[in-house]
């Protein structure tokens, strides 16, 4: 498993190649690889986004990402999982996150990658602040992405 928070711009595809080469090597049990990459758009809620600042809660973020990937390993019997997530200053087209799952068969890889991504969006303590023509704004969760975490 690989969980990493990146302060600098990264190439998700190169990260995938490196992990496959250095960690998974030529594991002959792997029959399926499923990958999700999220990137910064230049628009949100009908406004142009110039750039974005991504903040997180060091320590808690890594813990939740590990728990989320471990839950997918247990539920879908995937062979391995990877999450790399950016923080800091980002611009449109910059990669924000890569999630990858490796399994014997495609269903488990597809389902694990989706579960990991949905749980990340609901639980992992990251916050986006966008810069638009009208100034800065903290991004609100999309309706339907809200979690069941208790609120004050």
């Amino acid at each position: 498993m690989k969980i990493e928070i990146m302060n600098e711009k990264f190439d998700p595809w190169q990260s995938l190649v490196d992990y496959k080469k250095n960690v998974l090597q030529n594991n002959p049990k792997i029959g399926a690889t499923s990958v999700f990459v999220g990137t910064v758009r230049d628009f949100n809620d009908d406004e142009e986004v110039q750039n974005m600042e991504l903040e997180h809660y060091p320590g808690m973020t890594e813990k939740y990402l590990e728990d989320i990937v471990n839950a997918a390993i247990k539920k879908y019997k995937i062979i391995d999982g990877l999450v790399i997530h950016r923080v800091g200053a980002l611009e449109p087209t910059d990669p924000i996150v890569i999630v990858a799952s490796w399994s014997e068969h495609r269903d488990n890889a597809f389902n694990a990658t989706r579960d990991i991504m949905e749980a990340l969006k609901a639980e992992a303590p990251f916050w986006k602040k966008e810069s638009t023509n009208n100034g800065f704004r903290w991004v609100e969760p999309t309706i339907g992405e809200e979690n069941n975490i208790d609120e004050i």
């Binding site: 991504l54 639980e123 992992a124 990251f126 916050w127 986006k128 602040k129 809200e146 208790d150 609120e151």
Partner: protein, 77 residues
Amino acid sequence: MKIYVKYFASVRDIMGKDSEDLKIETSLSANELWKSLTVGKKTPIRVLVAVNHEYVDKNFKLKNGDEIAFFPPVTGG
């Protein structure tokens, strides 16, 4: 007892600081602490709370040495 308080994102903007160390009475809940810290402040409708890097409900009772964090709903990915 001593606790460590952290604020993130829009909650940090409202509190005007990112953290503080506090000495509090025993048996305060997360919600009681939040109310006492935000007297006179316009607070967001939705605030999540974590203690020692785990989400907790608002009635969670704080212990000596706990790190408690208040923040808005998360928006990663």
